[in-house]
């Protein structure tokens, strides 16, 4: 009896290691830009980002989807988001009727799952403007104090206040904060 248990244990361990190495490869592959864009549902978002302030990083390299939408590294946070959104995206891709994507509820979910640490990797100093040189405006200073808990306590994460950083559906184009982004998208009405 104990021998059988032992061999099962060994088999389990080998299986686990094999699974992990395979999934490490799989995790890399399924976090790439090409993979995200292999689904037609994701193409308006990818098109919009080219006209946003987040088209290019500070060193003039296109910013990838994963840099904002997946937590960095291969830790438990990354795994959790990967499993949750991977399974949901894949299932809904095959079962959702065409044109069944309504972007308003997607926004709320996306805002919730964009990790603040991702923003902070590129915007380390919250008291500087995005270019990293000038000080942020007065309102920005108060709001970031609230975010950090130094003056009151904000409810939102980064993406909750800074909406439409990278994507701009038609229904949000009227907002004042999006005026610049919207004007760049002006003749692109076909994008939804």
């Amino acid at each position: 009896m104990p021998g059988k248990k032992f061999s099962r244990l060994i088999c389990g361990c080998i299986g686990l290691v094999a699974l992990l190495t395979m999934s490490a490869y799989g995790l890399h592959a399924t976090s790439s830009q090409e993979f995200c864009l292999s689904c037609h549902e994701m193409s308006p978002q990818a098109e919009e980002i080219r006209y946003s302030s987040h088209a290019l990083s500070a060193d003039k390299r296109p910013i990838t989807c994963a840099e904002c939408h997946l937590p960095a590294g291969f830790g438990p946070r990354f795994m959790a988001v990967k499993i949750y959104s991977g399974v949901k995206d894949a299932v809904l891709h095959f079962f959702l009727p065409d044109g069944g994507l309504s972007r308003a509820p997607l926004q709320a979910r996306a805002r919730r799952f964009v990790d603040d640490a991702n923003c902070l990797r590129c915007h380390a100093d919250l008291y500087k403007k995005a270019d990293g040189k000038d000080a942020v405006s007065d309102l920005g200073r108060i709001a970031h104090d609230a975010y950090l808990g130094k003056n009151g306590q904000a409810r939102s994460n980064c993406a909750g206040c800074h909406i439409n950083l990278a994507h701009l559906p038609l229904f949000d184009r009227r907002l004042d904060v999006n005026r610049k982004f919207a004007s760049r998208l002006q003749n692109k009405e076909a994008l939804r």
């Binding site: 959790a80 988001v81 919730r112 309102l139 904000a154």
Partner: protein
């Protein structure tokens, strides 16, 4: 013994799914901070809109474009002053029976007669979602206080 095994496996899977659900709700909570507190900036309180067009852009602009905004029913009338100094106590979700009733008593009576005893105005008139132009039944979009 044999009959118990599938049960055990199902229980294990359920526990795993439950654990995963709990974990993802802890690391990415629906609301980042429940115990929100308004930042203190008394010299700016005269113009809630200016700051809020940056920190809650959709909410603030929806107010401005709604009947309340056009007729200048200001933020403080419903929400009170963040430092609690005004006559209306500060609230992120103004109560129907303490705030709305002040101006809408006739409408509320009418609502109750027409639609029953439901006094959750929010379910039909999404407050900050541009109820101008009588789009009373427009699909409700999630807000920061109600995902």
């Amino acid at each position: 013994m044999a009959a118990k095994k599938p049960l055990l496996i199902i229980a294990l899977l359920l526990a795993l799914a439950g654990g995963f659900y709990l974990y993802i709700n802890i690391i990415f909570p629906p609301v980042r901070c429940e115990a929100a507190k308004h930042p203190e900036a008394p010299e700016q309180y005269a113009d809630c809109l200016e700051c809020h067009l940056k920190v809650t852009p959709a909410t603030a602009q929806n107010w401005r474009e709604s009947k309340h905004g056009v007729l200048l029913v200001k933020c403080v009338v419903c929400h009170g002053l963040p430092d609690g100094k005004g006559s209306v106590p500060f609230a992120a979700k103004p109560g129907v029976q303490d705030i709305c009733v002040r101006c809408h008593e006739p409408a509320m009576k009418q609502m109750v007669e027409k639609y029953g005893a439901e006094l959750e105005c929010d379910s039909c008139h999404p407050h900050h979602q541009n109820p101008m132009h009588r789009r009373a039944f427009e699909a409700k979009k999630p807000s920061k206080t109600s995902f």
